[in-house]
Amino acid sequence: MADHRDDGTDSPGPVIAMADICKSFNNNVVLDNVDFELLRGEVHVLAGGNGAGKSTLMKILQGVYSMDSGSIEINGQPVNIGSIHAARAAGIGMVFQEFSLIPTLSVARNVFLGNERRSSLGFLDDADSVERTRAVFADMGVDIDPTITMGNLGTAYWQLTEIAKAIAQDAKVLILDEPTASLAKDEVDALFALVRRLTDNGISVIYISHRMDEIFRIGDRITVLRDGQRVLTGPIADLTPADVVHAIVGRKVEGAFEWKPRSVDRSGAPLLEVRHLNVGTRVRDVSFTAHRGEIIGLAGLMGAGRTELARALFGIDHIDSGDVLIGGQRVRLTNSGKAIAAGVALIPEDRREQGLVLEHSVRDNLLLTLLGRFRRGPLLNDRKGSAIAAELINELSVKTASPKLTVGRLSGGNQQKVVIGKWLGTDPDILIMDEPTAGVDIGTKTEIVERIRALADLGKVVIVISSELPELLAVADRVLVLRAGAIDRTIERADIADEHALQLAIQGVAA
């Protein structure tokens, strides 16, 4: 039974008022007295860099995390959101980035999942849920057949179904987290039209996004978080994109993150040459060259094709057309083994999923790419293997009690060092690093940044993909800005004034 919460919905005050929210994880302050207010029928953009505290704040609102101190009021009533269930009951709906839908069930069954319609006899009433789903879709102005199997629909429909699910549960607040990341342009238009329609009906939307053009198109107000503090709240109409970028970025360049101009000799033949590379729909006609000793930064928004380009160069994703030349020779990168043989190494984006066998030891993980190096006839020479592992552990100062420790027990930074070590051992000519400092502590970040420079100084080509612009600016000699799978701009590092300027270039906004 749909329980109606008419009480207070017409009151003029904010729908949600979060005040003085504090949250720490192991002495690490993630939210520091943050206030956040959501008005009825508004689209409130929540912005901030990685680790600014956006997702923590939203998880508190959804009852995933509990706050250390602070208060939350919904429609003026203090509430205690202790669980996801309590948040749902309070009318807060989340549209998950990783969809919470089940591909084998019908759309209608997904919409009412966990909230199934029942007949008077207590049996599931599929006909009723189909009817109600149809009604919700009609309200939303979208045309989806509720009886179709979820798995047969494309991404855009999944998102719409997620929204329908939240609405069917009578949500008054929708949290959309980077909803356009995997949508085509016309789908984005449809989504925005829907968001407008929802807010006209009195639903409030919290819109998390990095994309400046979207923020200014859809947002009514914006709150920017930086390092766990609220640095800006205001009507978007009063702001310029530069104001927002400035609030997100702040000013902080210190120590290892300071750019040191390096001289790269680009007179000879390039070591790596990529010509008109096409990979599926995600990499389109990408061409670039890199000389020995050069550090190339790949910048772009999520979904711009950076990771796909990296995967293709490492032989993981199938190259549809185009050539890759290494040292002037055409190479066929049809699998990772061939890429390794050609001198390419990839430090993948997700170290836990792609980089490590978590249950195996530090030693075994380090040696996985190096098994050919310590053979004695058909057998592995364990002593030599241990020596190689010890050398790498020492070289990268991996903090581990023993090489035999399970790698899953190390901290994120040390795990990342193991992934790097695994590839350093192969002595690649071209090293691609996809988000090498994601989820590592600041100390390790510094070490990684210095490592990147040292590797380039040895004459390697290093390609760095990073969403953390200070890091990209600290190391890159040249930055390729990708947009929708194609190279939008190539900028010499010396021509980039600061993080602000790069952010604007990534957003495609003129400075």
Partner: protein, 329 residues
């Protein structure tokens, strides 16, 4: 100053003790199959001595009787460590006996052996290709194969036992001493391959995290293909031991249910059903453990039906003891 340093020393010592305990705790779980084997052995030795448990022939019988399961289970360790399963080994062992019989009728001992191993090679190749190229889950591929092989064997032989016409076959695969020799040979080769070769590392990495293995330049499809070939060839070998032992005769139903004992031995031995971890010596002890329980309980005069109940219960207990506590990671 002195107080402080004493306190520090005590703390350090306490820390060392807990670390030691923790380490031994982890080890204890890892070695549960050996501890269990030893414990049950001691109990039987004390209680069943008067029934002849400790007589050398009885003890050697445990080894002999475990050989069929152990030989197939050594290869199954690789299959399970690579996060796959092979349910066809039992039927295949039966078919290998039949193949040996037909082979022997046309070319004596050599043809008998070649025919049996050839059948294994063929089935392993089919299993491997279906899993890696057609990408059907191994559970389904090998389950289907189980029925097809059994049906084929029954049909071609009209469900009759086929004599292996080579006396030497019985000596090589079925004699008391050779059965123990084969068990030891497979155990040693399996241990070396899994722990000391690149192939072994590839299998563990593939089972532990297939994506990470692919990103490390390992062709996980190739790894899985060869694991299935090895499993089938070893199952055929086990089938030859089985046939030699049963009157030097091959019959389609001889291996029925063998796959379950084989999988039980592997899991008891500490190989993770989810892949990535495996121990060949553990597997061999797992096979011996099941045989030991059967042997001892039979001496107490229990019926084999009662024996099955107890065997199942003990396996559950053994696996439960080995379970890693959540949250430790």
């Amino acid at each position: 100053m002195t107080d402080l340093s004493i306190e520090q020393t005590t703390q350090r010592r306490a820390g060392r003790v807990t670390a030691l305990l923790r380490r031994s705790g982890a080890d204890w779980r890892q070695y549960v199959i050996y501890i269990g084997f030893a414990a049950i052995f001691v109990i039987f030795a004390l209680t069943l001595n008067d029934k002849g448990f400790l007589q050398s022939n009885n003890l050697l019988n445990i080894l002999r009787q475990a050989s069929v399961v152990a030989v197939a289970a050594v290869a199954m360790t690789f299959v399970i460590a690579s996060a796959e399963i092979d349910l066809s080994v039992g039927s295949l062992a039966g078919l290998a006996g039949i193949a040996a019989a037909y082979g022997s009728q046309h070319g004596g001992l050599v043809m008998a052996i070649l025919a049996a191993l050839g059948v294994g090679l063929l089935i392993g190749t089919i299993n491997g290709l279906l899993v890696t190229i057609v990408e059907i889950p191994s559970f389904l591929v090998t389950l289907s194969m189980l029925w097809m092989i059994r049906g084929f064997g029954q049909w071609r032989t009209s469900a009759k036992g086929q004599p292996i016409e080579a006396a030497a076959f019985k000596t090589i695969f079925g004699s008391n001493s050779m059965r123990i020799v084969w068990l030891v040979v497979f155990a040693v080769i399996g241990t070396i391959v899994l722990n000391k070769t690149r192939a072994g590392r590839f299998v563990l990495a593939t089972g532990g995290n297939r994506t990470a293995a692919e990103f490390s330049g390992i062709s996980t499809k190739r790894v899985k293909f060869w694991v299935f070939v090895a499993s089938s060839v070893c199952a055929s070998f086990a089938g030859m031991i089985l046939a030699a032992n049963l009157n030097n005769t091959g019959k389609y139903e001889y291996g029925n249910g063998l796959e379950l004992s084989v999988i039980a031995a592997v899991i008891l031995g500490g190989t993770s059903l989810f892949g990535g971890k495996g121990s060949v010596p553990g597997t061999v002890f797992g096979a011996l453990f099941v045989q030991l329980i059967g042997n001892g309980l039979l001496l107490t005069g229990l019926q084999s039906s009662q024996l099955d109940i107890i065997k199942g219960g003990i396996i559950v207990v053994a696996v439960a003891l080995r379970r890693e506590r959540k949250g430790v990671r």
